[in-house]
Amino acid sequence: MRLLRALQQAIGAPSAHNELRWMKRAIAASPATVPDLDTMVARRVAGEPLQYILGAQPFGPLMLQVRPPVLIPRPETEDWALRLASAFPPPPGVTGMRVQRALDLCTGSACIPLLLCAQRPPGTLHAVAVDSSDAALALARDNARACAVPCATDARRHTPPTNTLALLRADVLDTAALAAALRPHGPFDLLTANPPYITRAEYAELPPSVRDWEDPAALLGDLPAAPPSGGLAFYHAIAALLARGDVLRAGGWLALEVGAGQARAVAAVVGAALAGASETQIWCDPWGKERVVVAHGARR
């Protein structure tokens, strides 16, 4: 009762009921791995995200580990990644014989590639996940283990066939170095990313549970010591990578999450880089916001 009231004051009545229930449920499920209820409520009232307190976040059918400061997977991302997993076509020709390759930049917890690995038929996908943060890569490795996705370079080596994930440490903003690191893995049938897209102006206004807890490097789309780019710095870097021409296979797909109001601008940036892109779509999230730019590369 006392805990409920404290939570209600901190986060509002409807959320308080749900969050208290989820805390109790986490304790009932594994009392050894989570703090006691008083501690949890105190931490939540102090502004810590519930996901960090519980140490886990569901993502589609997966239960992913989360820990500060790696970006917490968002429901918007869950929605489009599930949609992409069922919309992305299998390889042309004899079905299922070629292993498709997916690249995820700014992977964080590796939520996107792990969801793709879970949703696509076993033995048909090899995903490469890139991040510049050691904390993110360590978490991605733990999550791959928790989801029983082997971290390897070749899906065909496994019996029974299974989807695989390779982790790469690289800076998306350093296009030349990234392209060199990717060369042994590519070309890719699919490129996904949920890059940092918050502008410097918006960053100052973020709720404390985001600003005080999650890695600014996973949020800020304007670079330090550079003029404001409208939060688009990483999209320009991804466009530069695509413009090299050897990253995305002919006819490959591109899916980039964007911030509210950025979709048109990002569509223009990647459209120019994917010269002759056959189609560029904008997908909305469940709240009706333009959330993802999806482009299909031209078939040569």
Binding site: E19, Q57, I72, E202, P207, L219, E257, P286, K289
Partner: protein, 370 residues
């Protein structure tokens, strides 16, 4: 013997006795050896009715033995023995009539393999109602486990006072729906709430609706119950800019089936994906329930049946705490204690009696003219 059992015997006699339809079929079957269509159907019917025929034969034979035994009562030497024997036979006849034959009358159920969803909503009585709802929820979870089913609480909307305002319980397992459908209706509780300083007895209610739950069809098969295009999916709360800007958990969803107006909200899970799946599960169950009710109404209209089906707004049971008595109004019995039902096997005893009563009523309705 009750009037009802007398009518049951009459019904059995006309269908299964020597001059009955069934016996005539049997003769026709023996007469000709050709396997025409009607004979195949008759043979099938005969096979299906064999256990009932055996039970009836056993009953009539026992009855004949009883008559012979009565004759011996006049015999000075045999009277004592005959009296004991007669009592034994009467007990056997009663057992056959009350326990064995009704279960054999049960028509094969089209819903036999379905699981169940129990939706509970607190009614009159405020916080006492929501406290009792929480107790009912525990009762159903316990009974489900005891019966070998798997219960999962899909929704559990707690009230500020520690009770539960409404809840949805999934009970997976064969026969769960057929048994638990008898729980649909208004459950009334009478007791003095812990918070009531004056000690006044309160009457509160909880409404239960039990829905049939079938397995989801595989994703590549079209759902027979609805078109996906007819379902509107909404997220419940605004998220501002959303995405990276917000890390609050907002997983609540509402789905609405436009043609019927059925709307389901789910917010129990942290995963929106999971909430959406559950909402669709509840929608399927409500649509299936509608379909079953419509089918039944049509069949009943065709047969001009007199057997009533439960009205869900009807009070079906009263749980009286101070008198330690639970009464099922459809059975007219108050012979269970509070603990029998809430902690023991009383609920399943009620359910079996309700099933048996229904089977007998339907059989009489079919075969005895008013």
């Amino acid at each position: 013997m009750s009037e009802k059992h007398a009518r049951l015997l009459y019904a059995l006699g006309t269908t299964l006795g020597e001059n009955g339809v069934f016996a005539a079929n049997k003769l026709a079957q023996e007469d000709t050896n050709d396997l025409s269509h009607t004979n195949v159907a008759a043979a099938k019917q005969m096979k299906a009715m064999k256990p009932l025929q055996d039970a009836w034969d056993h009953y009539t034979l026992t009855l004949a033995t009883l008559r012979d035994t009565f004759a011996l009562l006049d015999d000075q030497d045999m009277a004592e023995l005959a009296d004991a024997e007669a009592q034994h036979i009467v007990a056997d006849l009663n057992h056959q009539l009350v326990h064995v034959i009704p279960t054999l009358l049960r028509p094969t159920s089209e819903t036999a393999d379905l699981s169940a969803l129990i939706e509970l909503k607190s009614g009159v009585g405020g916080s006492e109602s929501s406290h009792f709802l929480a107790e009912m929820l525990r009762m159903y979870v316990r009974v489900a486990r005891a019966e070998g089913w798997s219960p999962t609480i899909l929704a559990n909307n707690e009230s500020d006072n520690g009770g539960v305002k409404d809840a949805i319980l999934e009970i997976k397992g064969e026969g769960a729906y057929d048994a638990l459908k008898w729980e649909s209706g208004v459950h009334r509780v009478q007791r003095v709430p812990a918070t009531e300083a004056s000690g006044r007895l309160h009457t509160s209610t909880v409404a239960a609706v039990v829905l049939p739950l079938s397995d989801e069809p595989p994703s590549d098969v079209k759902d027979e119950l609805f078109n996906l295009e007819d379902v509107k999916i909404e997220v419940m709360r605004a998220r501002g800019a959303g995405g990276q800007h917000v890390n609050k958990t907002e997983s609540a969803v509402r789905i609405t089936h436009i043609p019927t107006g059925i709307s389901v909200s789910m917010q129990d899970e942290r995963s929106q994906h999971q909430n959406r799946r559950r909402a669709f599960q509840v929608l399927r169950a409500r649509l299936m329930d509608r379909k079953i009710i419509l089918d039944q109404a049509q069949r009943r209209a065709a047969r001009k049946s007199l057997v009533r089906t439960a009205d869900r707004s009807e009070k079906i049971r009263t749980y009286n705490y101070p008198q330690d008595r639970v009464t099922d109004h459809r059975l007219g019995k108050g012979n269970m204690s509070w603990n029998d039902v809430l902690e023991g096997d009383g609920l399943m005893i009620f359910i079996r009696e309700l099933q048996g009563k229904h089977d007998v009523d339907s059989f009489i309705d079919k075969f005895v003219p008013e």
